[in-house]
Symmetry: C2
Subunit: 151 residues, 2 copies
DNA sequence: AGCAATTGAGTTGTACACAACTAGTATGCG
DNA sequence: CGCATACTAGTTGTGTACAACTCAATTGCT
């Protein structure tokens, strides 16, 4: 009895994530951001400044992902990074004027692109709920098994 | 009015995909495969040989992803690659004895790991259906807008 | 105060994933 | 037949992601 990728829900999740990326890419290109960079900016537009650790918690990125990403945002002139004075281990990420200004163009981008999916509000909420459930199950599992020995 | 990544369904899909990856990683590590490599082997265990193009269609990978991935599978001794004699443009990917033998250990890995998620069959089918719907919507969109100008 | 353990950020190496491109092959059309 | 066109793989460059590691700063414990 055979199993193909298309038969697997987990494969479908990966495909969906990549296709979402592709859907958002052209619009984000005009902002000069990638999808993970845009998510980072979303956090900063709400809460500025943030430490690298706080960003990592909000985005579920580890330092190996976030450090180079933030360096690119800094190189693009959207953020600055400076050591915290109260705890020299932490680095504070702060929006530049340019980074704050990008919010005007960037804030309604999600809604604008999502509208082209022909997804009703109800469908979107279903989707979101299904994802929350899956992530919760995976978080539970990780808490039980640790990051170590798999099943 | 603020928007954070956690408020967005599309962000949740990305988080879910990454967490799924993390959940499968330890088990796949014992096979010496990554998740995308495992998906490739799943296809080959069902249909052997396959051209790079056919694999790409089944997995939704383009040649930029698949070519180096297949080279790694070849280096690991799981597949061979040879130019098709009927159409010299195509490359046939074929399981080695070692690659075929891996199926014994690999075929029930999906089910085994998925069981640790505490997801009922019904829940899994819900998830799968939700993903199919999203991918269908995104495919529709891509067909309409092309890969070009973003809405 | 002194020292071990922990924490926060960064680095290195490996592996996807996509855009843009190249090169060789096949096909279609005049 | 001969050439333009399309197709199949592969390459290069950029940007996530994660593991495993380093290093400095801080905290906890005695």
């Amino acid at each position: 009895m055979g199993v193909l990728p298309d038969d697997l829900a987990c494969f479908a999740v990966h495909v969906a994530a990549r296709e979402l990326d592709n859907a958002y890419r052209p619009a984000l290109r005009e902002l000069g951001l990638t999808y993970p960079q845009y998510m980072t900016m979303l956090v900063l537009w709400e809460r500025d400044p943030q430490t690298v650790k706080e960003l990592g918690a909000a985005l579920r990125f580890d330092s190996g992902t976030l450090s180079p990403l933030l360096k690119r945002l800094e190189a693009a002139g959207f953020v600055t990074r400076e050591r915290s004075t109260t705890d020299e281990r932490s680095v504070l990420v702060r929006l530049t004027t340019r980074g704050r200004k990008l919010e005007e163009r960037g804030k309604d981008l999600v809604a604008k692109v999502f509208r082209t999916f022909h997804y009703s509000d109800r469908d979107a909420e279903h989707l979101h709920e299904e994802m929350r459930k899956l992530v919760a199950a995976l978080d539970d599992r990780a808490a039980t098994f640790g990051r170590g020995a798999g099943g």
